[in-house]
Structures are given as C-alpha cells and as structure tokens.
Amino acid sequence: MSTYDASFRIWRGDAEGGELRDFTVEVNDGEVVLDIVHRLQATQTPDLAVRWNCKAGKCGSCSAEINGRPRLMCMTRMSTFERSETITVTPLRAFPVVRDLVTDVSFNYAKAREVPAFVPPRGVAPGAYRMQQVDVDRSQEFRKCIECFLCQDTCHVVRDHEENKTAFAGPRFLMRVAELDMHPLDAAEEAGLDRKRTAQEEHGLGYCNITKCCTEVCPEGIKITDNALIPLKERAVDRKYDPLVWLGSKIRRRADT
C-alpha cells in the first residue's frame, strides 16, 4: 500500500465570510476525497464542518465542489488526481453557506413542496395496481435520483442568478414533474391538474435552455435533459398548440364563470 502527502485547499468560514485554507494531509490507496476530509477532522481541524452520511454514493449528502466541479466527495477517488496537484474543495456555490463545506439547501425542500403529489387512480384498490415494466421504466430512471442537488447547484439559471430562484424549480424538481407525468397510473388529469401546463407556468420549465449541465454532473447518470426535460417541454408545447386542447380549455373556462 502506498501513502503520500497531498495538498488540499479547503474553504473555511460561515455566512459572514471566509477563505481558502491550505492543508497537507496523508492519502492512502483507494481513498476518496471524503476520507481525506475526515482525516483532517480527526487530526488537524476537529470542527471542520462537512455534511455526509452513507459514504457509498447512495444518500447524496456530501455534495461539494472539487476543483470547481460539483461532485459527491464520497465518490471522488484520489487516484483521479495527480499526486502533485492541489485539490480545492469548496461548498456548493448556488446555496448560502452555513459553515465550511455545509450549505443551506432549504431551497430544494421548498421547491419539493411546490410539486403536487402523485394522484392515485380512483376506484383502483391497493394491490390491484397493474403496470407493465416498459411503462414504468421511464419514471423509474428519474426515481434513481438521490437528491444530492448537484444539478440544482450547477444549473446556470440559478447558479449566479438568485433572482430566478422564485420562478424556477430547477432540474431535480422539473424531473419530478416529468416523473409524475409519465407515471402510468397518475390521475392528475382526472383531478383537474395539468402537470404539463404547471411545468411551464409554475415551475419555470421555459427557463431551461437544454445545455445539459445537469446531466453532466448527475452521479446517478440520469439523462435529466434528454429523458425528462426535453420530453416535458415537447409535451407542454404540444398541449399549448393543440387546437382541440385550446378549444377545450376555452369552453371549460367559459363554463366555469
């Protein structure tokens, strides 16, 4: 087993401000960036704040920016860097810093609440749900999401544009809308809820100009742009320009008043 000393620069500070600090720290075979952060805690900086949980790439807690790129610290192996390279670890830029590498991700929990939940089909008892694998495949891909919020962090719509946060749900929650819209048994429509329209009008789908940055950073390899956002855009557009739908909406609206 080979061991060496690596140079790390880690952002330390809080909401008031902070700075990059330099550390020299031991690295062993097979280790990941999170191992190194833990070693720093145990040996040099016991109060270095970092959020983590499973250390197996399954929970999506240890998101940070490593050399400027949004990544999971537990899935970033030290062997991907040159030994001489200085590795810089900073908190997610799109969210307010709490302390050191920990950010306030409450934006995401607020957005989650804005997406109406699954609507169970009327008259289908528990245990009587029947769906074909081929029909659940698409939504299952999106349900692989571990909510690490790297896509939310990297998306340029909000990354440097705080002002867009109110109107834009971000890739993760637009994908959630797509997931529900593609769920074979979701009865939103019967309940008077048009998920495609709300994607456009309430969750800011229009802000997305499909640069695929979200897909690039997804640690689960979910094709967020190609499989969720673009189809959702197409469906939303179909709906908007379908003359029958247009007519239907006018009639219903008139009947309502």
Partner: protein, 648 residues
C-alpha cells in the same frame, strides 16, 4: 437556568428512516400534530442504503406463498428466539404495507402480468422481495418522504402553513427523553425520576448548536442501529445507538443485545470502503461464492437444521433458479449468519482472496447486460470505488457489521416500551422481531409494519392524555443542557473524541465481533470501562455551530452504553445462535431457546464513569401460541425447542 425554546406537539418521532416516517404518517393521519426529528437531512436516512427488497408474501411470483410460510421462514431464520407475535403480525401485514406504498406513488419492478415483481433471498422459501433493481431502500424512503410532503400540502391548503400538523426538524439531535415524575425530585439526573411518564425530548440543532425542547406525551424512537461502534460496518455515521441509549437512560430495558448481524458480503478492498454492503441480491439472482481454490465452499457448511432444505450438488442448486418446485436452493442462500461464519472459516483456513475475503462471482453466471439491469448499483459501486467490473470478474467480499437484532424491549402489538408510559419504539432500534438473526428483506417490511403500529398506538396514547399532558420541569432541562455542554468545559488533558471512537470501534470489532470468546469479551468490558472514564473527559474545540467534534463527543455516550450491553449479554449467553457465535460454546443449546436477556440501567446512575452501567436480567420467553407451533413439523421443532417446551 437554561432558556430554551419550547414547543408543544402531540407525538414526537425520533428518526426519519422507514420506521420513523411511517410512524409519523400514521400519527398525523390519526389527527395528531406530529413532529419528526432527525440527525441528517430529510430523505437521507440509513434506509436509503437498503438494496435487496421488502419481504411480503404477496405470492405474485409463486402462488404457494402466504403469511404462514413467511412466518415459518422468519422463525427459522431467527432460530426460534423471535418474539413470535411480532413475527406473526409482520408476516400478516407486510403485503398491505407494500401495496399501500404503490398508492403513494412507489414504482416497483413488475412481473410480466403487471404485478409487483418478487425476488429470491436467503432463508425465504419463495421469491418474496418486492424490489426496485438494487435500490429498494431509496424507493421506500422517497415514497414516504413524498407522502409526508403530500400531507403537508394538504395542511397548507387548510391552514396556510405546511408545517401546521406535521413538521420535520432536520439535522437535529435528541440527547434525552424527558419524563415527569414525583414532585420534589428536582436535581435528580434527567430522565431518571422514578415512575415518570414521557413528557418530551431535549434536542439541539446541529447547524447552530441551539437547544430546544419538544414537549409531547408520546415519543416514538425510530433511530436505527448501532453499527458505528464497530470498525468494519455497512452502517452510516448516524448509527450510534441513540435510541437504544435514550431508552435505557429513560429507564426502559433492552432485549437480547448480544445478537448482531454480520452481513456476509461487504466490500473488503480498498481499505477506505471496507465494509460497504454488497447486496444479497447478487446471490439471490445467481451469484456464487468461491474460495481461492475456485471451490463453491458453501456446500460444506449446511448445518443440520437446514440439511433437508438445501441442494447437495452444484447441479441441483443451479437447476433451482429455473425450477424451484423440483429442486432445492443453493447453500449460498442460507441465512446470513451461516454464510458469514462460513466465509470467516474459509479465510481463516488460508483459502481467502488476496485482500482477505472470498470471491463472489456473477460474471460467469449471467450475461453482462442482465447484470447491469438487475444490479445497477453494485455495478456502479465496484466500478467507481474499486476499479472492478463485476460483469467481467469476481468481487472480493467478507463479513461486515450490518444490523442489530437486539433492541428496546417492546409490546408486540403496540410497540410500547416496557415500564416507560408514552415511549414507543419501532424498526431496528426495537428488539424481538428477528430473534437471533434477521432474514434479508425482513427489515424494510419490519419498518413499515411496526412503524405504522407505533404511530397508531402513540396517537391513541396521546389522545388519552389530551388536555393534561405530563409537564416538563426546568430542572430536567437544565441538567440536560449541562450534560450537552460538558465537552466544551473539559479541563487540561482533554481526550480527543475521534481517538476514543476509533479505539471503541477496534475494541468491539476485535473482541466482541463475529466470533466471540469468553476471555476477549471480559477484556472488552474492561476496555469499555476505561473508555467511559476517558470519554467523561472528552473535550472539543471551537463553538456550537455545526461542530462535528462536539456531536461525536455526545454520541460517544450512546455508543459506549450500547457496546456495554452487547458485550455483557454476549458474555452471559453461553451458546451459539444466529448473530451470536462463541468459539468456546459452539453449539446451539435448546436450554437457551426460551431465555431472553434484558439489559437494564444501573439505578441510580453511578457517579464513577468507569463503574458498570448495565445489569442483566434473565426472563423467560412467552410460550409460542399452539396454532403457530402447529405450522411446523414436530421433527423440526425438536431441533429448536427446549425439552420442557415440547411437552407444554
């Protein structure tokens, strides 16, 4: 006097994994204002790491399955030490709990006729595990999380406040369960006043370090397990035995803490990922275990009690995957305790893999495409963390501390703890359900079945106290605050909590691990006493805002208490059964079958930190109900039950 924010709730749930969230949903749906409090972010609980599936006898793949078969498998897996009423309720209610998830939006893998698909797993007679690839736990937690959001959306419509009746306090830790008690007992240690009822919990926000109190007549503990007291473990940092310790400190006993499950297949290399789980689905789907000589060694390790149920040749075992009605299952699918011990023996005999495990191979058993579809997380995990392509070469695996069967003693039907009115427990933190060894897949179903029951009965209990909730005293709050701040006031020569934690993990791993010996366990108890004394002097730098050193210093109290329980009970039980293997007492003794070991706190708590904290008490298990016993053949019962039980 500590000035802390106080809030009033009807039910407080500690822990936001499968059991905690299911309990919270139930309590809220019964009309109770419910608070959930968890150490991580909402949706990150350890449940996300569950891979294989949820065991429920829906009979979608093999119609022969039903609750009786599931019950039998569970009792066999637990070597008949299970609290049988829990095993019965679990087997009966699991299908409803799974189907209910679909109505909340869960998307399980499907059978060709559109039902929920079910897969094979160790110890289960039929394909029984509802699953989503190998990320079933994530589906479970996300579905429950989204159900909670849906309830909050309802409340927003009605009250204009998402959190009016259901609130998640994320990244907060509970350090004490508070109790009311006899007047004049002020100054007594918190939680220790005799005869008290639950009145709330004392907590701190991890982010700010701010203290607060949630007052509530009913508290559900759903904090999961204890794996972080061991060096090699599949468990996340949250698994510090908090609920176990909170219950003990409030006066509630723990049950059969000697039973700790070492999952047979954890990663062994590289060192930094040692212990991370390799799902049992690998074997359920056809993966085989081989030693360095290329031999499928599990055929040599089928114990007598299971001889009739497992294949005797590789050919028969292989045929079973296609034709399970006419062949017996391969021994790779024995219960986890058997497989873990077998791997341990092979490595010890010098037939291990280069990094001290054995080989687990799917690459020669199914096409690469099928592996990537059935086991996507495993493919990903080995590729990313170990540079191993599991479609082309075998994995190296070895035992890892995975689950504690022991836990808080509870009433089977209501999940109420013993002797502390208002305190409930569900999920891994509760004992009894799994006996001496848990079958894979029975955990997620346990969380749902008993999470719901705990929420239900906590709500009913809170109803009974509506209008007159037990009071929280300022003295208790002050004592809890002082205890939590102690690490900041450590004197010169303070101990580093990280160092203490590492020493604890090494002690438990090496001396109370998978194979146990009397002398080593006695040595462990001495070391634990030494660690307790040093932990009393644990000190931290910095301030209270998101300070991991401080958090660890507080968690140490819990880990040390729980470790003492495990070591003391393991030393007492002079036999081998399930997740308790003694080299000096290798046989399963029928005489021990009806014996429960209860860990009770020494009261009053001794002032000397090195003094024993735990006393053991032997109790007799309740006799199994005759109609349940009748589900087994007499010849099988003879292998398990004590002489006097057979003639009762």
């Amino acid at each position: 006097m500590a000035q802390v924010d106080r809030q009033q709730w009807d039910v407080v749930v500690v822990g936001a994994g499968g059991a905690g969230l299911r309990a919270a949903i139930e309590a809220r749906e019964r009309g109770k204002r419910t608070a959930v409090i968890c150490k991580s972010l909402f949706g990150k609980a350890h449940t996300v790491m569950a891979e294989g599936g949820i065991a429920a006898s829906m009979g979608n793949v093999n119609e022969g399955d039903n609750w009786q078969v599931h019950f039998r498998d569970t009792m066999r897996g637990g070597k008949f030490l299970n609290q049988w009423r829990m095993a019965e309720l679990h087997a009966k209610e699991a299908p409803d709990r799974v189907w209910e998830l679909e109505t909340w939006g869960a998307l399980f893998d499907r059978t060709p006729d559109g039902r929920i698909s079910q897969r094979n797993f160790g110890g289960h007679e039929y394909p029984r595990l509802a699953h989503v690839g190998d990320r079933t736990g994530l589906e479970l937690i996300r579905t429950l999380q989204q159900k909670i959001v849906q309830l909050q959306q309802e409340d927003f419509k009605e009250y204009g406040d998402h959190e009016a009746r259901l609130k998640v306090f994320q990244e907060c830790t509970v350090t004490r369960v508070l109790k009311d008690g006899e007047p004049g007992a002020a100054g007594a240690p918190p939680g220790r006043r005799p005869g008290g009822r639950v009145s709330g919990v004392f907590c701190y926000e991890r982010e700010s370090g701010r203290f607060f109190v949630l007052e509530a007549p009913a508290v559900v503990l759903a904090t999961g397990g204890i794996g972080k007291s061991f060096k090699t473990t599949s468990n996340s940092w949250e698994y510090t035995g908090d609920g176990h310790a909170l219950a003990l400190l409030a006066g509630a006993p723990l049950l059969n803490m000697e039973f700790v499950q070492f999952h047979p297949t954890g990663m062994v290399w590289p060192p930094s990922v040692k212990g991370i789980l390799v799902t049992e689905s690998v074997r359920g789907d056809g993966g085989v275990l081989r030693n360095s000589e290329g031999k499928r060694f599990m055929f040599d390790y089928v114990p007598d009690v299971f001889k009739e149920k497992y294949a005797e040749s590789e050919e028969e075992g292989d045929r079973w995957y296609e034709d399970p009605d006419h062949n017996r299952r391969p021994p790779e699918l024995l219960p986890r305790d058997e497989v873990a011990r077998a791997i341990n023996s092979e490595v010890k005999a010098g037939r291990g893999s280069p990094h001290g495990g054995v080989f687990l191979d799917v690459s020669t058993r199914m096409p690469a495409e099928r592996i990537r579809r059935r086991l996507p997380s495993m493919y990903h995990q080995f590729k990313e963390l170990a540079d191993v392509d599991i479609t082309a070469e075998p994995m190296e695996v070895g035992p890892t501390c995975h689950y504690v069967m022991g836990g808080i003693a509870v009433d089977s039907d209501t999940a109420a703890t013993v002797g502390v009115p208002g305190l409930f427990a569900a999920g891994e933190v509760a004992g009894g359900m799994h006996g001496s060894n848990r079958l894979g897949g029975n955990s997620l179903s346990d969380l749902l079945v008993f999470g719901r029951r705990a929420g239900l009965h906590a709500a009913a209990y809170a109803d009974g106290l509506a209008g007159a909730p037990p009071a929280v005293s300022q003295a208790e709050i002050d004592a809890a605050a002082e205890e939590a701040l102690a690490p900041f006031h450590a004197a010169e020569g303070a101990e580093n909590p990280y160092t203490l934690h590492q020493e604890l993990q090494t002690t438990m791993n090496d001396l109370v691990g998978i194979i146990r010996r009397e002398g080593e366990m006695a040595e462990a108890l001495e070391k634990l006493a030494g660690l307790r004394a040093r932990a009393a002097r644990a000190g931290v730098e910095g301030h209270r805002q998101f300070n991991p050193g401080w958090h660890l210093a507080l968690d140490l109290r819990n880990m040390l208490l729980v470790s003492e329980c495990v070591a003391r009970a393991a030393l007492e039980r002079t036999e081998s059964r399930g997740g308790h293997t003694r080299e000096d007492c290798p046989a399963m003794e029928r005489g021990w079958r009806p014996v429960n070991l209860l860990c009770r706190p020494v009261e009053p708590a001794p002032g000397d930190p090195a003094a024993d904290r735990i006393v053991l008490e032997r109790t007799r298990t309740e006799p199994v109900r005759p109609d349940l016993l009748a589900l087994f053949e007499k010849e099988e019962l003879v292998k398990y039950l004590a002489e006097e039980e057979l003639y009762e």
